[in-house]
């Protein structure tokens, strides 16, 4: 077979063929194109690049944690770094208890509010409630922490806990912090469900509740899931408010019904409380970055699981939301 392109190329290089006019405009266009393309690509890559740099930095500063301290000690039960106790377990458990608590409180509340706002509430109520909920998102976390400290903690102590500074107090504050995210994203997801679905369900004689439960919720599942995941992300990374209300005692509560009512120390609060005191380059300093790595990995795991779940749902529906 004769390779035409090969022949053209040979003749072009030998100077037998010229594309003068064509090649000039092509070149000019190409420069503009290249510029814009690089700009857009640069913007896209820079995000990944920055995340990569952050991770590299974390690893560089935190790696000695996992090299210099035996693993058995890292998963020990004592956190008292100034005396060389580097057990991360109480901090991990603390973060998980507080985050799980806030999810258990915030997800049902958030989804129910979103359903009420999107499907049941008359328009005039929506117009009042939506901006109010968005205002809740604007409250600085430290203010919520202050409310938790001054108002919530004494209330919880009156319920019979040994102290009002507990994982539950932290979970409540975090739940209120995650609620606006969950509500507004879920409400958007419900709004995206085509009107025909509702009309169709109602036309077939379904009640309003049946329509919501059997049609609207499944149709908006991926959006709802995204709202929940972003809410969890907000909760697990929160620092100041949690530091004020959870008591910061680095111990593992004994399994039982009173786990939520015992004080805990979260990973974020530990980093915030201790970063100021350590001298740079000490083992304690490295371990604080090590905690950062653990936190990063946990958030990364949650995000990728969420991404996969959403992906599966979308694929099952043939690419439709």
């Amino acid at each position: 077979m004769i390779d035409l392109a090969q022949i053209v190329k040979q003749r072009y290089e030998a100077g037998l063929i010229r594309f003068r006019g064509l090649s000039q405009t092509w070149k000019q266009q190409n420069w503009a194109e290249l510029g814009i393309e690089t700009l857009i690509r640069g913007a896209g890559i820079s995000t990944i690049f920055i995340v990569g740099l952050i991770f590299l930095f974390l690893v560089r500063e935190g790696l000695p944690t996992f090299l210099d301290i035996p693993l058995r000690q890292l998963f020990g039960e004592r956190w008292y770094p100034t005396e060389g106790y580097y057990g991360l377990w109480p901090l991990i458990v603390g973060s998980l208890v507080v985050t799980a608590g806030s999810v258990i409180i915030a997800v049902p509340l958030g989804l129910m509010t979103a359903i009420y706002l999107g499907e049941i509430a008359p328009p005039w109520q929506r117009e009042i409630l939506k901006p109010l909920i968005e205002m809740l998102a604007g409250i600085p976390s430290i203010v919520l922490g202050f409310i938790g400290w001054m108002v919530l903690a004494p209330l919880i102590q009156d319920l019979g806990a040994p102290t009002g500074l507990t994982a539950f107090t932290g979970a409540l504050i975090l739940a209120y912090m995650a609620l606006p995210t969950i509500i507004s994203i879920s409400e958007d997801a419900l709004y995206a469900v085509p009107k025909e679905y509702r009309d169709g369900a109602l036309a077939m004689g379904a009640t309003q509740w049946q329509t919501i439960w059997r049609v609207i919720l499944p149709a908006s599942r991926s959006g709802l899931m995204m709202g929940v995941m972003l809410g969890i992300g907000r909760a697990i990374g929160e620092t100041m408010a949690v530091m004020m209300v959870t008591g910061n005692a680095a111990y593992i509560p004994k399994l039982g019904l009173d786990v939520p009512f015992s004080p805990v120390r979260t990973m974020t609060a530990t980093i915030a409380a201790e970063m100021g005191e350590v001298s740079q380059g000490s083992l304690h300093y490295n371990v604080l970055f090590g905690i950062g790595i653990v936190l990063f990995l946990i958030t990364f795991a949650i995000n990728s699981i969420a991404g996969r779940l959403i992906g599966q749902v979308v694929r099952r529906r043939g690419g439709q939301l």
């Binding site: 102290t163 111990y251 593992i252 100021g276």
Partner: protein, 298 residues
């Protein structure tokens, strides 16, 4: 990718150089006394922060063109800042540790110590709690988790809620060494894991004032009328003494300690004059007025 990395590395180096330059400049500018307006950066112990603020304010009248910026954060925070070269004076409610001196020397800084006041550490409980006095041994057992119920030390049948400052606080370190470990350097006891770690002095006083089962400790100058101060005995057969300016200065109260200021190297003229003023009669009058104990004057 390689081509991308090389300029990046260069720019990182450039940024580091810039940072170093800026760092050097801020250090030399504080040592330079020729200018008409001079600034002193002062940071550290939360125990000292109120007195340090009072000093800085009063010193404005004495030397109007010296401006002093005071921040708290804890003794460890202040000393770390001194080591990293970002403050002129570090306030500390404990002595500097040997590894901190080493770290400072690695950065070319030799910390110089000044005793500026004496503090009595008060052990506080809720006013509803019937307990009035505890021996150091009992306090050690309570804070290391060997005693967990108030009835074991003559109180009600209720769990003890331990409240402490974070480990970056000099007060925390002093309490660990003198109470939990009873001053014995061989002792390796540490705070019980259940101890609530408060990021501030106010955290301790407010938890103790609203929790009937809580016990905490704080500088005498920070105790309010909403908490009850208990008398402390050196040993179980020694008399229990309440903290006060008198009992702290004559040494009968067992938990009194020096409060320090550290400078990076021998202080420059501006800072030396300020420290002399602090340790002089005017400065020490402010110490007494803030509820702390003045250092004895020869």
């Amino acid at each position: 990718m390689l081509a991308l990395l090389v300029p990046l590395r260069k720019s990182v180096m450039f940024a580091t150089c810039l940072l170093l330059l800026v760092g050097c400049r801020s250090q030399t500018s504080t040592a330079d006394d020729s200018g008409s307006s001079r600034a002193i950066q002062n940071k550290g112990s939360d125990t000292l922060v109120n007195i340090a603020l009072a000093w800085a304010e009063a010193y404005q009248q004495v030397e109007p063109d010296v401006s002093i910026a005071v921040t708290g954060g804890g003794s460890g925070t202040g000393i770390a800042a001194l080591i990293n070269g970002t403050v002129d004076i570090a306030n500390a409610s404990r002595q500097i540790k040997s590894d901190e001196i080493e770290a400072a020397q690695k950065n070319g800084i030799t910390p110089v110590e000044f005793v500026v006041a004496i503090d009595a550490l008060a052990v506080i409980i809720n006013p509803d709690n019937p307990v009035d006095a505890l021996a150091i041994d009992q306090l050690a057992d309570i804070y290391s988790g060997r005693i967990t119920n108030w009835k074991e030390v003559g109180g009600r049948d209720a769990p003890i809620v331990l409240v402490s400052r974070e480990s970056n606080s000099g007060t925390h370190v002093y309490f660990l060494e003198e109470v939990v470990r009873k001053g014995d350097s061989e002792n390796t006891d540490i705070f019980a894991a259940e101890t609530l770690m408060m990021p501030s002095s106010v955290g301790i006083t407010s938890e103790v004032s609203r929790n009937p089962n809580a016990i905490g400790y704080d500088g005498l100058g920070y105790v309010t009328k909403d908490e009850k101060i208990i008398a402390v005995a050196e040993s179980s057969d020694a008399p229990s003494v309440l903290p006060s300016i008198e009992s702290a200065s004559d040494g009968t109260y067992p938990l009194s300690r020096n409060l320090y200021m550290y400078t990076a190297g021998e202080p420059s003229d501006t800072i030396a004059t300020y420290l002399d003023w602090i340790r002089g009669p005017e400065g020490q009058q402010i110490v007494a007025a803030s509820g702390f104990v003045p250092i004895t004057q020869e």
